[in-house]
């Protein structure tokens, strides 16, 4: 089955070969006493093979919900995918039976999380946890799995892998735990790695090491990565393409070099200004006043309008669609900065 509306879906970088992952118009709603609450709405993007997509946003922007929904990791009692598809290897993961989806999770698409301590099992040794996915997905024997587990620990830069195999998560530092998580995620040679704030809980020095590690693994193994972060500084060093999210919607998509050279959306500009200020010598940091609105109190128009210094009556009608502004770039703003106005035709 191929999507009928292909022409509408031309997100970031559609040249070259077909993308490894294509997300189309994905919406997720949480169940709430007073009816469903939209967590993300109409999110579409692609991840080409061997590329890194950075998804950037504040708490409440929907970036983690997006990541979790790709593998349907949010229990159906809590939230449901209300529309959209996730195309991966010719299949729509949103429609795949649970049994088949379990063969994709960890095998073809792996995930690492922000806090490795809560993601690792505290009462199982590193070795046991590393062997488990391989025995489950690859059907190999324990001795073979142990041998590979040691290789993996070596690959992610953990000294004395044999000794570490016998240790438990609490005996490892934060950086070591995240390395173990990465080793586990890579154990079944996935094609896509989803990393949800993998370095946020770590020291800056450890963060730099983990990003270096992910980058080198990505080059060596030809991995595709979705990196989720609130820090544009992390994305700059790491991603090929960037998607900025705000209040459940993708509001800007662009190649990394362009978004830093010329951010189009006022929100992206605000984020960039903050990070630039942080790096510079300046008296007072610029900030974006206010907070991301909760999903149940979204304004009718652009969700960023109440915090936007450029907003006027044009912004209050309905949310602006994510529209092309230049080749390979899209922005959801009625007047993207520095770009001629290309309004989406009705």
């Amino acid at each position: 089955m191929t999507p009928a509306t292909d022409h509408e879906l031309s997100p970031v970088l559609r040249k070259r070969d077909a993308p490894l992952l294509r997300v189309e118009n994905l919406s997720v709603a949480f169940h709430a006493p007073n009816g469903p609450v939209r967590a993300i709405e109409g999110v579409s993007f692609e991840v080409p093979a061997g590329k890194v997509l950075g998804i950037v946003g504040e708490s409440g922007s929907g970036k983690s919900v997006t990541a979790l929904s790709l593998l349907r990791l949010i229990p159906s009692e809590i939230a449901e995918i209300s529309s959209g598809s996730v195309w991966f290897g010719g299949r729509d993961l949103t429609k795949l039976p649970e049994r088949e989806l379990r063969r994709v999770r960890g095998r073809e698409i792996a995930m690492i999380f922000q806090e490795p301590m809560t993601s690792l099992n505290p009462i199982a040794s590193v070795g046991t946890q590393l062997r488990e996915p391989m025995q489950l997905h690859l059907g190999i024997k324990a001795t073979e799995a142990s041998r590979r587990a040691e290789e993996l620990l070596d690959l992610v830069g953990i000294p004395q892998p044999r000794k570490r195999m016998m240790q438990y998560p609490h005996e490892l530092s934060g950086g070591m735990r995240q390395r173990v998580m990465i080793a586990m995620a890579l154990s079944c040679e996935p094609k896509l790695l989803i990393a949800d704030e993998p370095t946020t809980a770590l020291d800056v020095t450890t963060q730099a090491q983990i990003l270096d590690l992910l980058r080198s693994l990505q080059n060596r193994l030809g991995l595709s990565i979705i990196l989720i972060t609130h820090d544009l500084g992390v994305v700059a060093q790491f991603a090929d393409n960037v998607q900025v999210m705000y209040a459940g919607r993708a509001i800007e998509q662009a190649p990394v070099s362009e978004i830093f050279r010329q951010p189009a959306h006022p929100y992206t500009q605000g984020l960039l200004k903050i990070v630039a200020d942080l790096e510079a010598e300046c008296e007072r940091l610029s900030s974006i006043e206010g907070t991301v609105p909760a999903p149940y109190e979204l304004p009718p128009g652009c969700a960023f309008a109440p915090r936007c210094s450029l907003s006027d009556t044009a912004c209050t009608g309905s949310p602006p669609p994510l529209s092309p502004i230049s080749p390979g770039r899209r922005c959801a703003c009625v007047r993207p900065a520095g770009f001629p106005q290309i309004r989406a035709s009705a």
Binding site: E58, S173, G233
Partner: protein
């Protein structure tokens, strides 16, 4: 304003004994002064002893050695009762306000709790909370809400209001923005700067992120495994870092200019170790420049230039006596 220091820390150490493996010097013989109204940043990785130092200053943890003088008072010689009274002048803001608050208390009772403990009347407490909320950028109707009803940035504002409740002179800010989004970090840093100017506060600002420190600190002390390895005013530290560890920290800061190449130092950056060996420099295992003397002799913090101290054998120090 006098130049007499508000706080004088001398030879402060904390030793934890750990059974079979002997003892760990979590904080090892550190000394520094702070004048009223200044912000000293204490920077280092997890486990370097920076939070312990903050707690030692307030005598929330008893030091093994050394003294802390606050406004001329020897904190270490105070009785329990005197300490309780004097300690009101020092307050603490924590990294994760969510775990620092009782989830079943309203914002108002959280902010008022220090005053309750200090014996203030209900009407005084109420009045002070009404005063404090707008000071930290919260609205009056926030008073009756519970911690889970606030965003991370708002919770940190409540934490700051609580710290201000007793009109302290000195605040230890222990990673106050590390758990926040970058955009919210900027808001909270600006708030801390405003409050400092308004009330003449003195901050010890503990952080692992040099990016943040740059915008709030007057001086920066870099800590590594329990020792201060470099101390300088902010400009000097960023423009002319001397200790290899300071340079390592600076190179690890994320940059938004994708063209910037990472320095070769990154390649040798290992894990932070455990302070085991008492002789020699504790950074020796990760240092790209280490020579024989670094393994055997512990480097002392020495004057490198005026107001700039470095603890490294390989940094030529100015011919000055301490």
């Amino acid at each position: 304003m006098t130049t007499h220091p508000l706080i004088i820390v001398e030879g402060l150490s904390k030793v934890y004994s750990s059974g079979a493996t002997g003892s760990v010097r979590a904080v090892d013989n550190i000394s520094f002064d702070m004048v009223r109204g200044e912000t000293l940043a204490l920077v280092g990785e997890s486990g370097c002893g920076k939070s312990t130092t903050g707690r030692l200053l307030m005598r929330l943890i008893e030091p093994s050695e050394g003294t802390v003088q606050f406004d001329g008072i020897d904190f270490m010689s105070l009785s329990r009762r005197e300490l309780k009274r004097e300690r009101r002048r020092l307050q603490l803001v924590f990294q994760d306000p969510y775990s620092a608050f009782n989830p079943r208390m309203t914002a108002e009772s959280i902010i008022a709790e220090p005053m309750l403990l200090a014996g203030a009347s209900a009407s005084d407490r109420r009045r002070r909370v009404v005063e404090l909320l707008p000071l930290v950028g919260l609205a009056a109707h926030h008073a009756s809400r519970y911690p889970h009803q606030f965003s991370g940035g708002q919770r940190q504002r409540i934490g700051i209001a609580r710290a201000l409740a007793l009109r302290p002179e000195f605040i230890v800010c222990d990673e106050p923005v590390s758990a926040l989004d970058v955009s919210v970090q900027a808001q909270v840093i600006n708030l801390l700067v405003d409050l400092q100017q308004k009330f003449g506060l003195t901050y010890l600002f503990i952080s692992h992120d040099l990016r943040v420190v740059r915008h709030i600190a007057d001086r920066v002390a870099v800590m590594h495994l329990g020792r201060i390895v470099e101390l300088a005013d902010k400009k000097t530290l960023f423009a002319d870092p001397q200790h290899p560890y300071t340079r390592l920290l600076l190179s690890a800061v994320p940059q938004i200019r994708p063209t910037v190449q990472t320095t070769p130092l990154r390649a040798v950056s290992g894990e932070i170790g455990t302070p085991a060996s008492e002789s020699g420099c504790r950074f020796v295992g990760r240092c790209p420049h280490a020579v024989d003397v670094c393994h055997s002799v512990k480097p002392q913090l020495r004057q490198f230039a005026s107001g700039h101290q470095v603890a490294c054998h390989l940094v030529a120090t100015a011919e000055t006596t301490k």
